[in-house]
C-alpha cells in the first residue's frame, strides 16, 4: 500500500526490509549508529543526517560505527562482500572518495574481471551528493561521472522516494559493486512509496513526464528542476518530455534515443561538472547514434567548470535551475 514518505525514510525502509530479509546484509560507516564507545546513548545519530536511525535497535551489531578511516572500512566492506556478506557501506559525502578510491576502483571494480570471473563482490556504497546547502567545495560535489567511468561499477542516482527505495533494494540484492548516490537536497522530499518491498531494475530510464516537442534528460535533483521548467514551458505551448536515466551505469540509451526520435530536440541537465560529465557523455551518445534524429543542436545545462562555491550568492548561480533549463529549451526550439 502506498503512502507518502520522504526520500530519507524510503532509504531507511529499504535498508530495514533487506536487513530483516537477509542476515548477510550488514551496514558500516562513520556514525551510522553514533555513540559507540561513548558514555551517552547508542544510535545517537543514526548517520550524520539520520538516514540509518533506528536500525541499531533492530539489528544490533549488524550495523557498525567505524573510525574515520574510509580506506579501511570501505575496503573492509569490499573484502567482506567477497567472503559472503552483503555489506552496505556509507561513504558519508561523495567528496570523500579521494581518501578511499583505490579500494573502489582498483579493487572492487576489477575483481570479477581480473580474477577470471570467479569473484563476487555484492557491496553497496551509499554516498551523499549535491550542492545547495552552503556546504562549500568539499561537501557538495556530484562526482558520479568518475564512478561511471570505471568498468565493473554500477552507479545509481535516484531522484524520488519511490525510486530510492526500489533502486536501493535492487542494489543490495545485486551481485556487483554498486555506488548509490543520494542527493542531500532530496532527503526531505515526499512521495508515494509502497510499504511492501519492491525492486527497480538497473538500466531502465524513467519517463517522468511525457511530451512531444523537446526531450529533457535530467538526473537526481535536476529532475524536479526540469519538472518546474516544464510547467512554465507548457504555458508557452512547449511540451517537454522528461527522462530520468536513474542509473548511469548501466545506462539506458534506447529510451533517450526513442524520445529524441519523437521530439528532435534534446536538453541535458546535470549537476556534475561539465567536462567529461554525464551531459557531455549523453550528448556524445546521441550525436553518434541519433544524429539524424536531431533538428537542433543539443543543449547542456550544467554548473560552470568551477569548484562549488560557499557564498549563497555564488552557489545559487552555480547550480542549474528552472530558469536556465527554460532558456536552454527555448534556444533549442528556435530550430524548428
Amino acid at each position: 500500500m502506498a503512502r507518502k514518505i520522504s526520500y530519507q525514510q524510503a532509504i531507511n525502509e529499504a535498508l530495514d526490509q533487506e536487513m530483516a530479509r537477509d542476515p548477510s546484509v550488514i551496514i558500516m560507516g562513520e556514525d551510522v549508529v553514533g555513540g559507540t564507545g561513548g558514555d551517552g546513548e547508542m544510535d545517537a545519530w543514526g548517520g550524520v543526517l539520520g538516514v540509518t536511525k533506528g536500525l541499531y535497535g533492530k539489528y544490533g551489531n549488524r550495523i557498525m560505527d567505524t573510525p574515520i578511516s574510509e580506506s579501511a572500512f570501505v575496503g573492509a566492506a569490499i573484502g567482506a562482500a567477497t567472503c559472503g556478506m552483503r555489506p552496505v557501506c556509507e561513504l558519508m559525502f561523495i567528496d570523500f572518495l579521494g581518501v578511499c578510491f583505490d579500494q573502489i576502483y582498483n579493487q572492487a571494480a576489477k575483481f570479477r574481471y581480473m580474477f577470471g570471473g570467479k569473484a563476487r563482490t555484492p557491496v553497496v556504497i551509499r554516498t551523499m551528493i549535491g550542492a545547495g546547502f552552503r556546504a562549500a567545495a568539499q561537501h557538495s560535489q556530484c562526482l558520479y561521472p568518475i564512478f561511471t567511468h570505471i568498468p565493473g561499477l554500477k552507479v545509481v542516482i535516484p531522484s524520488s522516494p519511490y525510486d530510492a527505495k526500489g533502486l536501493l533494494i535492487q542494489a543490495i540484492r545485486d551481485d556487483d559493486p554498486v555506488i548509490f548516490c543520494e542527493h542531500k537536497g532530496l532527503y526531505a522530499q515526499e512521495g508515494d512509496v509502497p510499504e511492501e518491498s519492491y525492486t527497480i531494475p538497473f538500466g531502465e530510464a524513467n519517463i517522468v513526464r511525457e511530451g512531444k516537442d523537446v526531450t529533457i534528460v535530467a538526473l537526481a535533483r535536476m529532475v524536479s528542476m526540469a519538472k518546474k521548467a516544464a510547467d512554465v514551458l507548457a504555458k508557452e505551448g512547449i511540451s517537454c518530455e522528461i527522462i530520468d536515466p536513474r542509473t548511469t551505469s548501466p545506462f539506458d540509451e534506447d529510451t533517450i534515443l526513442e524520445s529524441v526520435e519523437n521530439t528532435g530536440h534534446l536538453v541535458i541537465v546535470d549537476e556534475s561538472s561539465p567536462r567529461c560529465g554525464m551531459a557531455a557523455d549523453i550528448s556524445a551518445m546521441v550525436a553518434q547514434k541519433g544524429f539524424g534524429l536531431l533538428r537542433a543542436p543539443i543543449q547542456m545545462v550544467t554548473p560552470p567548470h568551477t569548484p562549488v562555491p560557499f557564498s549563497g550568492t555564488l552557489e545559487d548561480l552555480y547550480i542549474p535551475n528552472p530558469a536556465k533549463i527554460e532558456a536552454a529549451v527555448r534556444k533549442c526550439m528556435e530550430y524548428a
Partner: protein, 324 residues
C-alpha cells in the same frame, strides 16, 4: 624449541617451500628467455614466511597478498599449473589470462588475490576477518604486506580498524629490506615495523624469516589469539629476496655480494633441511623424493602453459559484471 608440527606437517612444509623455490627459479629463467609477458616479482628466498604462515591456516581462512604473491598462492594451495598458465597469460590460467602474475586469486582456497597496489590488501583482510567473525566460522584472515606497504595509510588504518572492531585479522609484514629500490632503513622511520603494533594496541613480534620454525611459532600464537576472539596481531618477518624488485632489476642499490651471501648463509630451505634431518628423523631420501616430484610438476607446468591456448577475442568482453 619444540614444535606442534607432525612429521607429515614438516614434509608438507618442505613441499610448499621447495615448490615455491623451484617455481620462482624457473620463472626467472623463462622470463629471461622472453617467454613471459609483463612484470613479475619473485618470492625466492622468502619461502619460510609464506609456508610458516600458511601451515597455520585452513581452506576456510583467508589471505590477501601483494605484487610478490606467487609464494603466498602456492603456500595457500593454489594450483601450480593454473598459476604458471596465468603468468603466461593463457586461457587455462587461474584467472583465464586476465589477471597475470600480479592478480592471481583463488577464492576457493581462501586466496583473496595478489595485488598490484602496495597496501591494497589490508583493508580487504579486515572485511574477510569481519565476515568470519559475523558468521562465527572461527576463521582468520591474514594480510601479507611488505616494508613498503608498511608505510601506507591503508595499512595503518586497517590495523586500527581491526583492533577497534576486535576482528580475527593478522598482519604479516614481510620486511625484505627494500621497497623497490629504497631501503627500509630509510623508509621505515621507526626502524622495525613490529614496534608499530603498540600504536594500535595489538601484540607485535619480529621473527627471523629465514627460519620456518620461528615464523610458524609466531603465527601459531597470533592465529590462536585471533581464533579465541582476542583480536589482531602484527608479525614482522625479516627476510631477504634472492632477486630484484622485478625481473630485469639490476639491483645496483644492493651491496655487491649481498645476494650471494644471503644465498650462502641464510637460505631458508637449507636451514629447514638441516634441522628436520637432525631433529625430526627425516631422511635426505625422503626430501629428494619430494624434490623429484616438484621438478616434474614445474616441468609439466611450463610445458602445459606454453602449449595452452590464448584467451579468445570474446573473452575481452566477459566477466566485467555478473549481470549488466
Amino acid at each position: 624449541m619444540g614444535t606442534a608440527l607432525s612429521r607429515e606437517d614438516l614434509l608438507e612444509a618442505y613441499r610448499r617451500m621447495k615448490t615455491i623455490r623451484e617455481f620462482e627459479e624457473r620463472v626467472h629463467v623463462e622470463f629471461a628467455k622472453g617467454g613471459i609477458p609483463g612484470f613479475v616479482h619473485l618470492y625466492a628466498g622468502e619461502e619460510a614466511s609464506a609456508a610458516g604462515v600458511c601451515m597455520n591456516l585452513t581452506d576456510d581462512d583467508k589471505i590477501a597478498s601483494t605484487h610478490r604473491g606467487h609464494g603466498h598462492c602456492i603456500a595457500k594451495g593454489v594450483d601450480v599449473k593454473g598459476m604458471m598458465a596465468e603468468i603466461y597469460g593463457k586461457r587455462t590460467g587461474t584467472c583465464h589470462g586476465k589477471g597475470g602474475s600480479m592478480h592471481i586469486a583463488d577464492l576457493d582456497t581462501g586466496m583473496l588475490g595478489a595485488n598490484g597496489i602496495v597496501g591494497g590488501g589490508p583493508p580487504l583482510v579486515c572485511g574477510a576477518a569481519l565476515a568470519a567473525k559475523m558468521k562465527g566460522t572461527g576463521g582468520v584472515a591474514v594480510a601479507f604486506f611488505g616494508d613498503g606497504a608498511s608505510n601506507q595509510g591503508t595499512t595503518f588504518e586497517s590495523m586500527n580498524l581491526a583492533a577497534a572492531w576486535k576482528i580475527p585479522a593478522i598482519f604479516v609484514a614481510e620486511n625484505n629490506g627494500y621497497a623497490e629500490a629504497t631501503s627500509s632503513k630509510f623508509s621505515v622511520a621507526c626502524g622495525d615495523v613490529s614496534v608499530r603494533a603498540a600504536g594500535f594496541g595489538m601484540p607485535g613480534v619480529m621473527v627471523d624469516g629465514h627460519d620456518f620454525f620461528a615464523v610458524y611459532e609466531a603465527m601459531r600464537v597470533a592465529v590462536e589469539r585471533a581464533r579465541r576472539g582476542e583480536g589482531p596481531s602484527l608479525v614482522e618477518v625479516k627476510l631477504d629476496r634472492f632477486y630484484g624488485h622485478f625481473e630485469g632489476d639490476n639491483q645496483s642499490y644492493r651491496a655487491p655480494d649481498e645476494v650471494k651471501n644471503v644465498r650462502a648463509t641464510k637460505d631458508c630451505l637449507n636451514r629447514f633441511k638441516a634441522r628436520v634431518m637432525r631433529d625430526h628423523n627425516i631422511s635426505e631420501t625422503e626430501l629428494t623424493a619430494i624434490d623429484d616430484e616438484i621438478a616434474r610438476l614445474i616441468e609439466e607446468s611450463v610445458a602445459e602453459a606454453v602449449a595452452a591456448p590464448n584467451p579468445t577475442p570474446e573473452d575481452l568482453l566477459t566477466d566485467v559484471y555478473i549481470k549488466y
